[in-house]
């Protein structure tokens, strides 16, 4: 049995809204270990979408991912990769960014 905890930074501009939360919960549920995610002083069950959404993690916020169980290492690695990849939606822009444009055309 191992307990692993690692830090991850939310990098996608829209933050962890419904779709990323859904992705994260799906990945967490693939593992047997109990997985917990903490932001500031709020910790939630990573297998509960309502819990994960409660974190309202915006772009730039730090998450601490902790897994406890036989596949803890794999679980944490998979979740870190998902967060680092911006939940596969780096291309979606935050609404505020609109087109202050840098464009350089």
């Amino acid at each position: 049995m191992a307990v692993i905890e690692r830090e991850a930074k939310v990098v996608n501009p829209l933050g962890m809204h419904a779709r990323p939360a859904a992705e994260l919960v799906k990945v967490a549920n693939r593992f047997k270990s109990a997985v917990e995610i903490r932001k500031d002083d709020v910790a939630v069950n990573a297998k509960s979408i309502l819990g994960v959404m409660t974190l309202a993690a915006e772009c730039g916020s730090s998450l601490f991912i902790k897994a406890d169980g036989e596949d803890a290492e794999e679980a944490v690695a998979a979740l870190l990769a998902l967060v680092a990849d911006g939940f596969h939606e780096m291309h979606l822009k935050a609404q505020e960014e609109e087109s202050a444009d840098e464009g350089a055309t």
């Binding site: 930074k9 990098v11 996608n12 501009p13 933050g15 809204h17 419904a18 779709r19 939360a21 859904a22 919960v25 799906k26 069950n45 297998k47 509960s48 979408i49 309502l50 819990g51 959404m53 409660t54 309202a56 915006e58 772009c59 680092a84 911006g86 780096m90 291309h91 822009k93 609404q95 202050a100 840098e102 464009g103 350089a104 055309t105």
Partner: protein
């Protein structure tokens, strides 16, 4: 007038006229009842069965959304389905039934309010938006448990109507029947909310963020909804309705007429073939560029691969992206602009001390040449993708000849290394100069000799020539791409490229604006790269004019003493040749440059 008009944000364009149907998509009143101890397990089973049914219904909606709006939109239902699989939440509801003897609907409502209070307490706007999903799911489950079948409020709309709601959950929006729902008004929601995205892709005009809509609008009131301007007019006069209908007809005719040219070649009346390409900033724009008939990509921006990421994109990731774009435009070139990083557009690894003048600072090709590993990985990715597609490289912000020469050396070196390593890659790729500084325009003849093509970025060229920051609102009317100085540089670049036998194109914003596109044709640019939604306008224009007429107009513009006079000359020449009604000619010109009282 103002008393009858409500304002919001137009989230899906078009005008709709019709009677209002006010939808109250809200949790029903759940009576407080307890169940006898003997019935508790039966109540738990009833809850589980309801959840199962609603999950199946959501899965159906998901499928329907895939068909109607695409896979991305359908993903919103994943989150809703997962909520019904949330063990903590469901177990909590079951505990309430077992321990407090609540009915299934009361227990579910209780848990829903718990989440709502928890989320409201965080004050997070992100969660506020998502509450619609939770509430939507709860409404479905509770209505099901209370045997209020037909959980969808549109079921009894019988004539074409405008739906007014406090908030529209995506689940509701996707079930919209276009025969019965002609417009949408919502108090909540923004341009990026799911419902807005769906309304847009389904093509129903919509205005969101209309404060007090549900209170102010009574069912049956006739409304005019303008999804382009974001307004709602209550109880319109017959003349106002006629006016709105006329405007909408014109809008549709205009877009239909423009869409017709998509499949036709971009040839001027006197037979000059013009290549029209698309500018692509983000992967989402590939489809739009294709749909509008782009012949390749004249400006493929690569910054999205890097901004916001904490690590640089891998060579594989880049090669896959370039290849994917290449495959979308078989037989046509895709011009990859090398990283145009600088100022605030820096990935974390390169962030240094802020510069006093970032636009005169360490950016674009200067960064790439100083960070050869990053640059070389982009070059290798382009070479690999070029094995199967017509990939070209374009260097931004060139001011010196050696910047092109060093880039070419690196391309040759990397091609050699890839070959040696046995990696499938092209022997080389065409390397072009993005002309966006006065230095590059003045040296265009020399640059043309050592590069494969030239492409003008008109915004930066204007800003650097006129010394006007285009983000500075006080200088907005000084930012003018039609200034005689800029026109002379544009002419000089086109002439230099022609003399050297190299193609010249424009990929800047000017190419997307009809009057300027006419000017560019006249200056001798035979390739234009355009914002995808503007491709039909520009193609329509090309097919209406002659190259000889455009040349005469460009000569007149070049002879003008000011930007205003140059624009007047162009308008006069274009109006003499073309019926301009299909084009909204001023739409893309800066406000100060619009025609004002000049009517051609």
């Amino acid at each position: 007038m103002s008393g009858r008009q409500l304002r919001g944000v137009g989230v899906s364009p078009g005008i709709a006229v019709g009677p209002a149907v006010v939808v109250r998509w809200a949790l029903p009143e759940v009576p407080h009842r307890v169940v006898p101890r003997s019935q508790v397990e039966k109540e738990v089973r009833r809850l589980r069965a309801a959840i199962k049914d609603v999950k199946r219904h959501l899965a159906e909606l998901r499928e329907r959304t895939v068909d109607r709006a695409g896979v991305d939109e359908a993903r919103i239902f994943d989150a809703q389905i997962l909520m019904l699989e949330d063990k903590e939440f469901i177990r909590g509801a079951e505990e309430l039934i077992r321990e407090n003897h609540l009915t299934a609907e009361k227990a579910f409502e209780f848990k829903t309010f718990e989440v709502r209070d928890l989320w409201a307490g965080t004050g997070s706007p992100l969660l506020k938006e998502r509450l619609a999903d939770v509430t939507g799911v709860a409404i479905r489950v509770i209505q099901h448990l209370m045997h209020r079948g037909g959980a969808d409020p549109w079921d009894d709309i019988s004539e074409p109507s405008i739906v007014v709601a406090k908030e529209l959950s995506p689940g509701l929006t996707v079930q919209l029947d276009r025969a019965h729902v002609v417009g949408l008004i919502s108090e909540e929601g923004t341009r990026t909310s799911h419902a807005a995205i769906l309304a847009h892709s389904i093509g129903i005009p919509a205005v969101f963020g209309v404060r007090g809509a549900v209170e102010r609008i009574t069912g049956g009131t006739t409304l005019i909804l303008d999804g382009s301007r974001g307004t709602v007019l209550l109880d319109p006069l017959p003349a106002e309705i006629a006016d709105a209908e006329r405007t909408e007809t014109q809008r549709r005719e205009r877009s239909a007429r423009l869409e017709e040219v998509v499949t036709q070649p971009a040839v001027t009346l006197d037979g000059l073939r013009i290549a029209l390409r698309g500018n692509v900033d983000l992967p989402e724009e590939i489809a739009a560029a294709r749909a509008h008939g782009a012949e390749g990509v004249g400006l493929l921006r690569t910054e999205f691969l890097i901004t916001g990421h904490s690590v640089l994109p891998s060579e594989n990731e880049q090669a896959a992206y370039f290849a994917r774009v290449g495959e979308a435009f078989p037989g046509h070139p895709v011009v990859v602009r090398t990283y145009d990083l600088g100022g605030d557009k820096f990935p974390a690894p390169f962030r240094g001390a802020p510069e006093a003048n970032p636009f005169l600072g360490w950016r674009a090709i200067r960064v790439c040449l100083d960070q050869p590993e990053m640059f070389r990985s982009q070059i290798r990715a382009a070479l690999r993708a070029a094995a199967k597609a017509q990939i070209q490289l374009m260097i931004p912000l060139v001011t010196r000849l050696d910047e092109v020469e060093r880039t070419r050396e690196m391309v040759a070196e990397e091609a050699g290394k890839l070959k040696q390593a046995g990696v499938e890659a092209a022997d080389g790729v065409p390397v072009g100069v993005m002309v966006e500084t006065p230095a590059a325009a003045v040296m265009a003849d020399r640059l043309a000799e050592i590069s494969d093509f030239m492409s003008v970025g008109t915004n930066d060229l204007t800003q650097y020539t006129l010394v006007v920051d285009r983000g500075n609102a006080r200088l907005a009317d000084r930012f003018n791409p039609h200034d005689p100085s800029v026109l002379r540089l544009l002419k000089q670049v086109a002439d230099a490229a022609r003399a050297a036998g190299k193609p010249a194109s424009v990929c800047g914003e000017m190419a997307s604006e009809p009057l300027s596109a006419f000017l560019l044709l006249g200056l001798g640019y035979e390739t234009l790269s355009v914002a995808p939604p503007k491709l039909p306008d520009i193609k329509w224009l090309v097919r209406q004019v002659s190259a000889a007429g455009a040349r005469a107009a460009a000569d007149a513009a070049l002879a003008a003493r000011s930007a205003e006079l140059a624009l007047d000359a162009l308008r006069l020449a274009l109006a003499a040749a073309v019926d301009l009604t299909p084009l909204d000619l001023d739409a893309r010109l800066p406000a100060a440059r619009r025609s004002g009282n000049f009517k051609a």
